[in-house]
């Protein structure tokens, strides 16, 4: 069953077709990548899926319900979480607090509970803290939970962003360039972590990624965008040899060369 079905998504900025009638179907429990050259509209597409932008056309069905027109926080509550291309942690909060902020929509206690410190609120807070520790342990940050997010090393910040996204209890997680700026060692660890999201937690993953080794090793399907339009879709091996994809990345000459060689 398809967890996410985006059909003919279009987003226009002024005269620019940032995303032009792109469709994407994501099966439950799969890892899917969206790739394309810089400025192809990948992040814009993510922003439309998560409700930060409203699409100018098209439909998005998530888990059997339309999510077009919902606010980003409502979409998060339905079960779509995300990370950001240029890490957006709450820098002056600790790692643990960052994760606890992610739990916001799953916690119930309100103003009264907080003011009167009701037993329900206290147990909830305690459990949230415990759960946050578990999530940090899952991404390997349990020993840094009291450090301010901005003081964490770069790779750890990426992990923390994933832990924070997990705290929203997503069914689907959108990772925007999770290995950008990482060295090969860190990239390998991040790839492993992404795989564990699916294998151990059963979360469906959509990935925007530039590192082709990562894309080719973990994706089951790949969608290629160029100038806002989808130019190819398929299994990794199909994408690898697709002339249009090679052209988009390397220019026409490369296609000719590839065909000759």
């Amino acid at each position: 069953m398809a967890l996410l079905e985006a059909e003919n998504i279009t987003k226009v900025f002024g005269g620019l077709m940032a995303v032009n009638s792109v469709s994407l179907t994501v099966e439950k429990g799969s890892i899917v990548s969206v790739i394309g050259p810089n400025g192809a509209g990948k992040t814009t597409f993510f922003n439309v899926l998560t409700g930060i932008y409203k699409p100018d056309g098209g439909t998005i069905t998530f888990d059997g319900e339309s999510i077009v027109g919902l606010r980003p926080d409502q979409i998060t509550q339905r079960g779509i979480a995300r990370t950001f291309q240029n890490i957006r942690l709450f820098g002056n909060m600790t790692a643990l607090e960052n994760v606890m902020v992610g739990m916001h929509s799953r916690l119930r206690s309100g103003v009264w509970g907080a003011i009167f410190q009701t037993p329900a609120t206290r147990t909830e807070e305690k459990r949230a803290r415990q759960r946050a520790r578990e999530l940090l342990a899952f991404v390997g940050l349990e020993r840094r939970m009291d450090e301010l997010a901005k003081n964490l090393p770069y790779g750890d910040q990426r992990r923390l962003e994933i832990a924070r996204a997990l705290a929203t209890q997503p069914k689907l997680i959108l990772l925007d360039e999770p290995t950008a700026g990482m060295n090969p060692q860190e990239t390998a660890e991040a790839t492993e972590l992404i795989r564990r999201l699916r294998d151990e937690l059963g979360i469906t993953v959509i990935l925007i990624e530039h590192d082709m080794r990562v894309v080719m090793t973990i994706s089951e399907r790949i969608t290629v965008l160029d100038y806002g339009s989808k130019i190819a879709e398929g299994k990794p091996e199909e994408i690898r040899t697709n002339p249009r994809v090679i052209e988009a990345y390397l220019g026409r000459g490369a296609v000719v060369e590839a065909q000759m060689g």
């Binding site: 926080d73 709450f90 002056n92 909060m93 902020v101 739990m103 907080a114 950008a180 700026g181």
Partner: protein, 442 residues
């Protein structure tokens, strides 16, 4: 930090914990209390002792002693020594009441500006709403609105503290709703405008129906009836004096409730959400935080305390008029929050107390002393009128503060980090280097 600890710092550390802390703290409190009670005349000396006495509260807060002992000492100072001193000298109780009122307002504004990061320049509007609520309903003014209606009974005052809280909340939501889609500077300007609208309404709502009595203000505002208990506890005092202590205790009560509520909210799911919004609202909304609702909540919570304090303020002054609630007042409260340290609860309290004392007591006193010297013909040129330079001195103090303690006197632990970022930036440069390194290897 411990590496570079100098001798004075080492001594300070010694006094900060252990048995020495108990001894030093107790001694300080006893000595300042004794000095205060021995100097009941209003003078510069008493002013200084009074400030030192209040400084004891800060020491109590900072010292590493058992919580119960802190509480007991603070209660002894605020509920014992200070009111007793007040029976000897009314001026200083009046000061303490003013300080309590403005500390509460600073705490309320701190929720909006410090916790949620929404710059509100019209905060005093909610204070005005609370004050006018009690002012109109407890005086014959009410008959102007609804002919034949009689003022509510003064004993309803306690109920109206709660009503003021509620009305403040409602106004917070009403004024917050249209403006909270704005950010930063735009929000500041619009709140400034709305704050002025409330004041101008107070001036102009004397026609066609006379609600506020315009710029003449409302006088003879009712006070709550004096509890008999206080008369019994404080025999031999005039009603006016007992009254003042009564108001003082009530202001302290409202302040205490405010501190408790603000503290608990800060350390809750809601406080975390506010902080997240302040840090990065896009990330916050992506984490499932309904930001408009949470901002509205911050506005409402902040406004509620101002509403309740407004009711008490009206009963204390017995007279209110529009100029009391002008823009300068809003800015003054903001200055308290910034001076103390944005987002910090002890900071807002210290800021509120400090600014109130400077404003009402220390600066006027300094000006008075200088004028006295001038009359004696000692070393002060003719053109210099000390009273005129009070505000300049206050401004100078603010500027010095911002230069030497840009995060405020008692900054929130995290805010301190934030402002230290400048220094940390150099070490943070190392991280992006990892990025370029990775780029070059791939």
């Amino acid at each position: 930090m411990s590496k570079s600890a100098t001798l004075p710092q080492a001594i300070a550390t010694q006094f900060n914990r252990g048995p020495l802390a108990y001894a030093a703290l107790t001694l300080y409190v006893l000595v300042t209390s004794a000095l205060l009670l021995a100097n009941t005349r209003t003078s510069l000396l008493t002013d200084i002792i009074f400030v030192l006495f209040l400084f004891g509260l800060l020491l109590i807060y900072r010292a590493r002693v058992v919580g119960g002992y802190k509480l007991a000492l603070a209660a002894a100072l605020l509920l014992g020594v200070l009111p007793y001193f007040g029976t000897q000298n009314a001026f200083y109780v009046e000061l303490a009441i003013q300080a309590a009122i403005f500390v509460t307002l600073a705490l309320g504004l701190n929720v909006v500006v410090g916790f949620a990061g929404l710059l509100d320049l019209g905060y005093v509007a909610f204070f005005a709403v609370g004050a006018y609520l009690w002012g109109v309903l407890s005086t014959p003014q009410i008959a102007q609105i609804a002919p034949g209606a009689s003022p509510v009974s003064p004993s309803m005052f306690y109920l109206f503290l709660a009503v003021g809280l509620l009305v403040g909340t409602i106004f917070g939501i009403l004024l917050g709703f249209p403006v909270l889609r704005l950010r930063g500077d735009y929000l500041a300007i619009v709140t400034l405008g709305l704050g002025e609208v409330i004041r101008v309404l107070a001036v102009n709502l004397d026609r066609p129906v006379n609600i506020t009595n315009g710029s003449q203000g409302i006088k003879d505002i009712a006070r709550p009836p004096l509890p008999e208990v206080l008369r019994a506890i404080l025999p031999g005092l005039g009603d006016a004096q007992i009254y003042q202590i009564f108001i003082y205790l009530m202001a302290l009560l409202v302040l205490g409730v405010t501190v408790l509520v603000v503290y608990r909210l800060k350390n809750s799911r809601i406080g975390r959400a506010w902080e997240a919004i302040r840090e990065d609202d896009v990330a916050a909304v992506a984490m499932g935080i309904p930001i408009v609702r949470m901002k509205l909540l911050a506005f409402a919570v902040g406004a509620s305390f101002a509403g309740a304090m407004g009711v008490l303020f009206a009963a204390k002054q017995q007279f209110i008029n529009p100029p009391t609630f002008d823009l300068l007042r809003s800015i003054g409260i903001l200055a308290m929050v910034i001076l103390g340290g944005m987002g910090s609860i002890p900071g807002a309290m210290l800021g509120g107390a400090l600014v109130t004392l400077l404003d009402l007591q220390l600066l006027p006193r300094i000006a008075m002393e200088l004028s006295a010297l001038k009359r004696q013909g000692i070393g002060i040129p003719d053109w210099f009128d000390p009273a005129q330079y009070q505000r300049a001195l206050f401004g100078l103090l603010l500027i010095l503060m911002m230069i030497f303690r840009p995060a405020g006197v008692l900054p929130d632990e995290r805010r301190r980090e934030e402002l230290r970022e400048g220094e940390a930036e150099t070490s943070a440069e190392v991280e992006p280097a990892a990025q370029s390194r990775a780029a070059s290897t791939s």
